[in-house]
Symmetry: D2
Subunit: 254 residues, 4 copies
């Protein structure tokens, strides 16, 4: 509530998101019921909530393509953790969702953010307009692995990569992050395929979204995937079989 | 991966969601890159993941209107918990998201699921086609509060209610759950307004979504809202002021 | 901080737990450094924090025996979920702990609380001093399973049961909850063994701890077990093998 | 279960923690019921679970003094987040506990681990036996803040510091980490007090516990404190007042 009624002197918590009073609900400065419901898509709203501006149609298409690309990757550690938690505490759907999201850290869901952050840093420190030169400089000055290059399963090509780049180009949203990432892959001696989740990070950065929040979009996408996993666990449970498989093959070793 | 290579005899984990091999990624039996990315919206995919069937355009519109309605309600306990967790552990965005979702339990986010479950039970036990009669019977046989009736703030009308019912009617998706809920409100002696979050539950139930999963959609919607809260906390922090407000007004009492 | 400095008029947050100012830290009305550190055990403090009173030596012994009994049960779903989360997000130990605790719901960790709550309700509604009669009445009036009776693995005897009952008797803390639980098992026609985790719930209730908090003690005990699981996962990882076992035996089925 | 019955060929999950079969439960290679319950304290077990060895009496005293020191610091962001989550989802105690622990990240609970890791690194790279010289070298070669030096509230002395150091000395467990930390404070030009939580990290490192797990002990300690916070919230709720204080002072700003 943003009513000033009963407000404490000296306390003031500003927000540009949701406020409400007896008769109305506002979100992002809009009338939620009159202006948003039925008129704004869910992906569009998520973009708006984070970026603080309404995306264009083309931006929504790229953004939702990314969310679709990241929603579910089958039996990942996060999906298994969510199913096991649901098995163990079926009364708390929110706990199973939360447990799944907690796996969205540096390793399994991290490549999207890592790639965006890496590219943004390279671009901001660059003084040359030549992307090929920048790509060679980035490779030379990066001691370890370059985020977004290579994939543990898709060793030749990640099928998401060309599709997402194509959509970004169609919508006129192919920008410096995607360009640099492609340039790096092109000149890199290992000829590694671009990781689709990394390409997602570059595409989100090209939309102007804050790179420190990119992991958050991967988490939002995964929230939908985890719902799917839990719904499937209800219909056709496997978590108990997973648990039993581990438990009956346990061996004591000091 | 769904490859049979290296598979253990006797172990078999079926899934209709994501699978992948070296060259392709499938989701819901579709080719993720070729058939879904750029062609399916994010809300549409979330519906499909849970329901196991692709929704129609009208269903997507109602569904996304619900997600938009539930995404953010300002400084709720869940939003505050997420911001405080982000203040305390800024290195773990997933922890702040998870902490926020964990408040999505019986009280603050529960009304959506409670209403859907309540209406579904009433409808499944009903033998009469007369919805007014069923509404009176439901009221007479429910000792406590009826889920979906009344709202702590919107005491005259929840602005989301008429809009969502209007959208459902426009799309030809106004079904027995919404009808029964409206009938209950109409004949109830207290003349309480319909809670918008409860109406969302009825609308989702009318879409044929499993009522035991309704809380999950509220959580998905809230995941977008929490992202917005965390992004705003980054730009314009208030969590430390909340913490300080509580801490400096702490009083020891045995 | 409990200082009144800068306090907001009208705001007042009472607590009997921790407060501090520039030179001192209080906890439970005691001077943390002078009176508690090195003088109070950790289990003793946990009891005190929840019960609001310092336990006796005998109470500490029973209480810690319960925590020891519940700390770790090997590769439970919660332990596996914590390990998978640690695999996926090794930068966030708190996320792995939280994911593990989130499985502490109605099914796997629930029996401790369920048994305590069940026995407390039976005792509070009882009018007879005859425990055998009450046990028969409880059995007759309970349609489903009685919490604390039976164990999926320990089908003859749960080894924790006689030990914990023995400790409670040694310390003079064998009270009405344990007595009723034993009486129920004695007269029940199925001759089921008492579940050790259920006996823990009865023993905690006999210590006068609030039965609505019993799940919390199981969670505290499990927090230590999860730390052990994560420490072992660091030394001798198995989470990736679990993930691979599930993933490579995934089979697509619509 | 460690039974070989029905085990899958090729699958093998070793563990030195809990295993069980029909008639017995083992933990850490001990018989849980016969050898641990009633004979091992809870803090002692937690140490054993992580370190893989049973601590001595003196080690238990230092270890439990640390856990007591870290259990609760009043209305921290983590305590407030746990209470708000409990308000919002009172049916899920595990969710409130988890939400509280998720704040145990780099900022509020991080100093214990940061200090231990920092000191361990300095000691392992040191070639000189002169601790004063090492302290000066550490200060000279550390560009930013030194973990464990200074406290936002206890600007003259953190009362936990001398007490914990005293206990460590009494038990003959004052080792190189505590010594180096004291030496750093002694020669540092800013004459900052030692942070008690940082001293805890040094003391745990002197016990030989793995420094990468130190955050975990802070989380275990905090789990007890969070239980206390939730139990108090049940008896004397304040979370709704916190929520209302924020909500009624919300102000819309684009």
């Amino acid at each position: 509530m943003a009513t000033e009624l009963n407000a404490d002197p000296g306390l003031r918590f500003p927000t540009g998101l949701g406020t409400s009073d007896r008769d109305s609900i506002s979100l992002l400065g809009q009338d939620l019921a009159a202006d948003l419901m039925g008129k704004v898509g869910f992906g569009e709203l998520a973009f708006w909530l984070v970026a603080g501006r309404r995306p264009t149609k083309g931006e929504v298409r790229v953004f939702e393509a990314v969310l679709v690309a990241l929603a579910d990757h089958g039996f990942t550690p996060t999906a298994i953790a969510a199913r096991l938690t649901y098995l163990s505490a079926p009364d708390s759907l929110q706990g199973a969702m939360a447990a799944g999201l907690l796996g969205g850290g540096s390793r399994f869901l991290g490549v999207t953010e890592d790639t965006g952050v890496f590219l943004a840093a390279a671009l901001s420190s660059s003084t040359s307009p030549d992307v090929g030169q920048l790509a060679r400089h980035v490779i030379a000055s990066t001691p370890g692995r370059i985020p977004g290059l290579g994939h543990p399963v898709h060793k030749v090509q990640d099928p998401r990569t060309p599709v997402l780049i194509g959509i970004a180009k169609e919508e006129g949203l192919y920008g410096p992050h995607l360009e640099l990432l492609e340039a790096i892959a092109a000149v890199h001696e290992k000829k590694l395929p671009l990781n689709g989740a990394g390409v997602c990070g570059a595409a989100l950065a090209d939309l102007g979204l804050p790179v420190e929040m990119l992991r958050g979009f991967a988490l939002l996408a995964r929230a939908a995937g985890l719902l799917g996993q839990i719904a499937e666990e209800r219909r056709r449970p496997i978590a108990n079989q997973i648990y039993m498989t581990v438990d009956r093959n346990a061996v004591y070793e000091a």
